[in-house]
Amino acid sequence: MSLGTPSDTADALVGGDSSTRELVGGGLAALSFAAFVVGLVALFQYVPVDTTVGGVSVATAIGGALTLVGVGIVALGAASYAGVFETEPGHTGGILSAAFLGLLWFAVGGLVGAQTLGLSTVWPVVALATGGFGAAVALFVREDIGVTLSAGLFVLLSGLVVVTGLVGPGWSWDPANVSIVVTGAVGVPVVALFAGLVGAWTAARVYGGFGPQGRQTGAYVLVTTNAAAMIALLGSIVGFIAVRGFGPMTEGIKYGLFWGPWTWFNPPLLDTWVVVEGPIVWFHWPFVMEGYSTLGAGVDGVLPAIVGTVWLVVGAVALAVPLGVGAAVFLTEYAEQGRFTSLVEISTNSLWSTPSIVYGLFGLAFFVPRLGNTNSILAGQLVLGFMLLPLVVITSTESLKSVPDEYRDASAALGVSKWETIKSVVLPASLPGVITGVILGIGRIAGETAPILLVTTSSPFPSEVAGVIEGGFRFTSAFPFVAIPDLNLVQASSALPYQLFAVIGAGLGENLDFAWGTALVLLLVVMSFYAVGIGSRIYFRRKLDQ
């Protein structure tokens, strides 16, 4: 007996026909997945199901594909059972798969019983019967025939229902006790989504040759689809707002290069003005540089909202960062683990999960009456600062904990006092983590609407920026010879998220473009904080790993 080459051994182990199985299984999985994607596109009415492409309506194409997949899956299962392919089926399809399939068949039985057969009271019996049967087949029959039969028949049934037009264009269903009417335009895509996923999952199991390997392939298909869907969701939300909002946001941008005066002065001896001229870049972006146009002429802008958001964020950071970092330093450097630290930890986590509207109520009851009895930027800053605080404490604590003890020991060995060590060794080492946490926190509070709705805002469409700084910095003739500007934070202001809410509340109508533009600006502001925060964290982690 000669020793086989490694590839021979592999062939013998996997079985001669594995390539056919993989080809057919993979093909069916791809076909189901295509039905899923087409269903998704049809659901959002980009391509309605009654569209005809090359003489075949989308509905018929979906139905045909699903029928084919259903037949194919059952056939593959039967072929595997008959030993045509080399597979490794288990005795059972697995409890999880059986429960999943049972649920599907329960829904099928329930729908058919209650709606098609019109059984008003006994439909649960029908549903339980079909559900139990679907689960039992998958659970008690050998895996390759059980799972494929249960899942394949479901896909086949879905396909047949659609291809025969039982659920198709023109069909409508008014379920009892629910105030919607399902038509083919939505019904067919929904069937396609479910059956497509089931088909892809089962076909992937066949592709993997059943058994543990098959289950893994099937599960990975579903889990990966889910992850891809999340990215697609992010992309479509951002993309959609960018497409709709870009026009309104950039409307009326003007820029140019001019030759103009830079500065001018009157030299003491010469009795004339000396003017220095040079090129001037002029740039005007009405949407972010102007307020809401009161006269209805010109471009409506969001400058008051932007300025309001900047003030809110600045105030919240000024309040929360010293408090939060201080608390984190005390917790990691001074405090001993005990009742006090766990009390602080629990209240920090609880503050973190407290709903934003509750912060708003608190500000309304606590700050507004005490701060001039009016909605004010100051109240908003305090409330948002309180919301930011737990995040700063949590991220700073983590960052401080990750500073190696060697740093502290080395400093202490040199005779440096504890506070001096913290100030000059520990805090600088933890700075990247702290800053990252603060940036991410700013992203969160910059988009927060509910609290400022209650404590800061008043006018829905401001045309003027809230004049927080009044007077400006100047020299005076009287003592003390400088006038510092008045800082008036006790006045109402708008903010970007509130601006969006205000437009929605006022009825979109003619303001729809303004709303999309506002949404895009808000998204850009918040997302850029997140992007910078996440990016810098990845950068510093990499640097730490080196």
């Binding site: 009415q45 629910v178 105030s179 919607i180 009417v181 038509t183 939505v186 543990p212 893994q216 599960a219 579903l222 889990v223 992850a227 999340m230 990215i231 992010l234 939300i237 951002v238 939060g324 201080g326 608390a327 330093v329 005390f330 001074y334 602080v344 209240s347 986590n349 609880s350 503050l351 999960s353 407290t354 709903p355 509207i357 912060y359 708003g360 109520l361 608190f362 309304l364 009851a365 606590f366 005490r370 309180f386 605080l389 506070w419 913290i422 100030k423 988009g447 927060e448 609407t449 509910a450 709705l453 969006l500 949404a519 808000l522 998204l523 918040v526 997140y530 992007a531 996440i534 990845i538």
Partner: protein, 347 residues
Amino acid sequence: MSIATRLGGLDTETRVIGGVGTILVVAAILSFLVAPALTGPIALAFAAFVVVSYLVAEGSTARFLLFLTTTSTVLILGFITVYLILNALPAAREMGLYLLVGSDPFWSTGTNVYSLVPMMWGTLVTTVIAMLVAAPLGVAGAVFISEIAPGWAREIVKPAVEMLAGIPSIVYGFIGFTLINQFMQQELSLPTFGSLFVTGLVIGVMALPTVVSVAEDAIASVPDSMRDGAQALGATDWQTSTSVTLPAAFSGISAAVLLGVGRAVGETMAATVILGNVTNLPDPLMDVFGNTITLTSLIASQYGAASGLQFSALFAAGVVLFVTVMGFSIASQLIERRMRRTLGGDA
């Protein structure tokens, strides 16, 4: 260790600074409660005291200041609790249990009758729908990131999920309001603008990143040795995940789901914008496409016009909300703590 012995462990300098500083801070807070005009001068006095004492005794002052900042979260939580309850008391006293179990009419400003039943029902239904979306998809996402994804995919998905968490709630609400509500009316002939179903769906998407991140942390904290053990016995990756990693991380994953529930219960703007905010139960009750109001959207939609008992009833809604979310938060913290203990690491 009692407080007295703890204070005894400090030197005289720290005790003096701590004593005087604490008195000034307490005075500042008390003055803000009763006479806000006095707060400024007292705060200035405190600042002057801190500057002077820092120049004299740096270490002790720093320690005292840090201790002070540490108490801030406890103090804030305390103030929030007290002020919510104080403002909710009139409604609780006037309406009694009717507030929680009342029947039609639920919410009538004309006759000053307030019951939170429709709001609690709305919050319950939207939260259940949201968690049907967020729990399975979120856990699957966490499994993908920590167990399945190759390095490059993880580096795309993880930041993407975080960015998803960053999209402001009002933007989700805006999309639900303009696109999904319209879709429901056009394609599904929904007679009213806004429904519990759409709200729940959108809130589910919003709670998704929370579930993914926390569950992923939980799965990542399962020691590698457990995975290696399973794989050494010949288990596939997926078998390792389902029969070793996920059961070990089960409590952490349920903590993630509980946190997600807390987020969903407290979500305000999306619900306010998408729902019709009618203060009645949907008819029939189980109509998930019906329209009602949630605890959060009640507050956001009525705070402006409210006064007297109605204002107090809004705070009562706030208390119900606060207590519910706090319950979920504390439960998830206890579960997480237990998981950390059983897994033996300090991850």
